[in-house]
């Protein structure tokens, strides 16, 4: 395999250094990331991520599907925040169509999106802490995550691959008792965040492993395309939910946590504070949830109610046409970006006027964030690489697509 990678084929540099492979099956690489390290003793001289082990050609598959059939594919890109991906894709298609979405659907989208963010951050916090050696946090985080997965199951029938947002609205009306369940969770969750913070924030071992480790400056972070908490941890105050609002985010009040330090601890603090802000948004969404329909009034795009299909001829015809022929989308192109738990998730959808997307491209926040790794780790210890990988919160499904 020497030809595959110039680092791997390097004459281990000047007698002192050696090449070490970390991954693709290493537990701390969060999936199938392979990191090639050139090390001098315990010090990293060079580092290069090698990706593509999870490439499934989703962008190519999208071109062969109807617009509505792409929604389940978007779940599978980032399996820790499926609803964020659903949202980004349907917003892009709705912008292409010029569809207006009823307020209840928008608020439900915000509600579910924030729950997804909490879900994703909980997995990140648990696995990140476990990588560094604090195993307990993982068990605590997964206890709360279980509740959120149950909410996903309540609305969509699926714990992970939700496909709950559809072009034009939502798949289903949320079931009876759903809002009470979420409210009960939202009331007790802040105390749980205190619990995690008790285990980590003041913990001297945690501090030693994270403070001053894997530093990155704001200039480097911007130049390397970082976004989300990774960028805000370096002091750049941007959050697409607040600065370029979508799906009604402008109606919600929340703070955007920013830290100036740019190290692993700063990114940790940003994400933990985001947990608190997100639960605040969930509370607001519950309090102000409007009444009304959950689907846009666009019979050629949105599937009709089952009841109507049994009684009205037109509804049956529309249903048949949408399923068999899809719906045509006016030619054009749209780049829709949303703030995913990992950063700027963008969908670039090009339509040629037919019922299948001409091109769907996903801008992956993780792919860009992964490029920070060499800036963060070179000249530092191997153990810090593990902390750095955890702190940029990567999901390989999204990187490889």
């Amino acid at each position: 395999m020497a030809h595959m990678n110039p680092i791997a084929s390097l004459e281990p540099g000047q007698d002192r250094t050696m090449i070490l492979n970390m991954g693709p099956q290493h537990p701390s690489t969060h999936g199938v990331l392979r990191v090639i390290l050139e090390i001098d003793g315990e010090t990293v001289v060079r580092i290069m991520p090698d990706i593509g082990y999870l490439h499934t050609g989703i962008e190519k598959t999208c071109e062969a599907k109807f617009y509505q059939q792409v929604v389940p594919l978007t779940d599978r890109i980032d399996y820790l925040c499926p609803l964020t991906n659903n949202l980004c894709y349907v917003l892009a298609v709705e912008k292409l169509l010029g569809l207006e979405i009823p307020p209840k659907a928008q608020w439900m989208r915000v509600l579910m999106n924030e729950l997804t963010r909490i879900n994703s951050h909980l997995v990140w916090l648990g696995t990140h802490a476990m990588d560094i050696g604090a195993l307990t946090v993982f068990l605590y985080c997964f206890r709360e995550r279980e509740d959120i997965l149950r909410m996903f199951e309540m609305v969509s029938g699926q714990r992970m691959m939700t496909s709950y947002f559809r072009v034009g609205g939502l798949a289903l009306e949320p079931p009876l008792g759903f809002f009470d369940y979420v409210r009960e969770f939202a009331n007790r969750f802040p105390a749980k965040v205190d619990e995690y913070e008790n285990l980590l924030t003041g913990n001297p071992i945690w501090g030693m492993r994270t403070k001053g480790v894997a530093r990155i400056t704001a200039e480097d972070a911007i130049a390397l395309g970082a976004s989300g908490p990774t960028l805000r941890g370096s002091g750049v105050d941007i959050d697409l939910r607040r600065d370029m609002p979508y799906s009604g985010y402008e109606k919600f009040r929340f703070k955007v946590p920013v830290s100036q330090d740019g190290d692993v601890f700063a990114r940790y603090i940003c994400r933990v504070q985001e947990l608190r802000e997100s639960i605040g948004i969930v509370q607001q969404a519950l309090d102000g949830m409007p009444e009304g329909p959950i689907k846009a009034d666009a019979p050629k795009v949105v599937l009709p109610d089952r009841e109507k299909m049994k009684t009205q001829m037109e509804a049956l015809i529309y249903h048949f046409k949408i399923i068999t022929e899809g719906f045509a989308v006016p030619a054009g192109e749209v780049y829709q970006a949303v703030e995913s738990p990992r950063g700027e998730m963008g969908y670039y959808v090009v339509s040629d006027g037919t019922a299948k997307p001409y091109r769907v491209h996903m801008r992956s926040a993780c792919l860009a964030n992964l490029q920070l790794l060499s800036k963060m780790c070179e000249g530092r210890l191997i153990a810090d690489v593990v902390a750095a990988i955890g702190s940029i919160d990567i999901v390989l499904g999204e990187i490889d697509r």
Partner: protein, 164 residues
């Protein structure tokens, strides 16, 4: 909410800050489009790097963040490839899209990796999946597909099921 028709007349769009900046510096602009609240500027292949430097260092509205680089294959039309750059201005919260059209011969364009290291992986991905070369890229190799893969899977003449 009916769709407003796209504006493609360069004269009408002259006021847009990003376009005005490029025209003022007499960068060769091929055309522009304003559609669905999104601005697209078509730049000639030779001037993409100049255009990017100008927009990145614009004091009024610096498009300092490269969101994305990707490509669209319009096979069998010519020019066949459109390389698409999405820029974001973090201070002004504005976006602009730059496009370069390339013929099918041996498509190549100047790399913007020297301007934004972020483009490194994006351009490698485009090279891998479309076969568009980026001149001046420090490490232009396949990113997602295996090193010994033949063909470029996201081209439109590449079958969805692959070759068997």
């Amino acid at each position: 909410m009916p769709l407003a028709p796209a504006i493609t007349d360069l004269e009408q769009l002259r006021e847009h800050p990003a376009l005005a900046r490029l025209l003022a510096a007499s960068v060769a602009v091929e055309g522009a489009k304003f559609d669905r609240d999104e601005m697209t500027i078509y730049v000639y292949r030779s001037s993409i790097r100049d255009a990017c430097v100008l927009l990145r260092d614009d004091p009024g509205c610096p498009f300092n963040f490269l969101s994305d680089v990707t490509c669209v294959d319009w096979y069998p039309q010519e020019p066949r490839f459109e390389v698409v750059y999405h820029l974001l201005s973090i201070p002004k919260k504005e976006r602009v899209r730059l496009k370069v059209r390339l013929n099918s011969g041996s498509p190549a364009v100047e790399s913007v990796t020297p301007l934004w290291p972020a483009a490194n992986f994006f351009e490698r991905e485009v090279y891998d999946l479309f076969g568009v070369r980026f001149n001046g890229h420090p490490y232009l190799r396949r990113l997602l597909m295996p090193e010994d893969w033949e063909g470029h899977p996201l081209r439109k003449d590449y079958p969805v099921e692959g070759y068997r």
